[in-house]
Amino acid sequence: MAGYNYRAIDDFIHSRVRLMIMSFLAAARSADFTLLKKQLEVSDGNLSTHLKKLEDVGYVAQTKSFIDKKPQTLIAITEKGDQAFKDYVESLASTIGIKGS
């Protein structure tokens, strides 16, 4: 099997948890923190750490609000994140010879 082209791989996405976050958000477009935590089966702290990294590079945006007087953090994928994710999947697919993933 061919190895990764390391130069083409986005290190900010290339962590299991962040890859899961980006994949989920690429389809759902947005999700609240609790749902994301449940979906990924990770702890609050772990999820927060990974979201912070993605937010710092502008791949996701977090919005805090109140719904029925309860705090909610909504995480949405950004245009930049969407493009980075598509590029990541493209490079991954080309590694194993899949066209137009």
């Binding site: 099997m1 190895g3 990764y4 290190d11 900010f12 290339h14 962590s15 299991r16 948890v17 890859l19 899961m20 994949s23 989920f24 958000l25 690429a26 389809a27 759902a28 477009r29 947005s30 999700a31 609240d32 609790t34 749902l35 979906q39 990294k53 710092d56 590079v57 609000s65 719904i67 029925d68 309860k70 909610q72 909504l74 949405a76 969407d82 999947v89 991954l92 697919a93 590694t95 194993i96 899949i98 993933s101």
Partner: protein
Amino acid sequence: MTQPDNTSHKHNPEADLALIRSMMAAGRRRAGVDGAHLILWGFLLMATFFIQYASVVGYLPPIQSILWGVTIIIGWSGSMILGRKMERSPQESNPALTAYVSAWLAVGITMLLHFTTSLLTQNFDPRASTMLSTGVFGVAFFVMAQVLGLRPFLLVAAGWWLILAYVVQLTRYPVEMLLVMGVACGALILVPGLFLRRLNTTGQ
């Protein structure tokens, strides 16, 4: 500058793609967009246009007015049942889902108002009806393509607008347009619905 951490997992492209597929499938299910509404309406409208054509050319008795009434009742009832299934906690908000639901609700209300007005005034203009429906279907698919990041749906929107452009330049409305609309509902509503269903089940 922010540095990536060193928690990158062991490199395995196939496993990564499998993970991406399953997470994207979960994301689409989460968005509540499983194509069920499109399958329902696509099949219903396709069948209605074909039955209407058969009725207009004399293969079936004249049942057009009842036919559309039945279609609207079945379609809205089915939509409400499907809508209840995808109801979620008010704690969860999803702008993409809201945009998707709003776009199709706007289509439904627009068409319902148009048909009600046509029935009440006894003045049904099939050309105007086709222009209105193709225009709003195109807008709804354009919204879906944008909010769900599904680029193929831009082609579906373009397909509806092409039909709109064709109808705009018609000087008379031939009965064969019913067949065109039947095929269009199959290809540009039912098939996208099946495509979404496949995305949800296989995650591809």
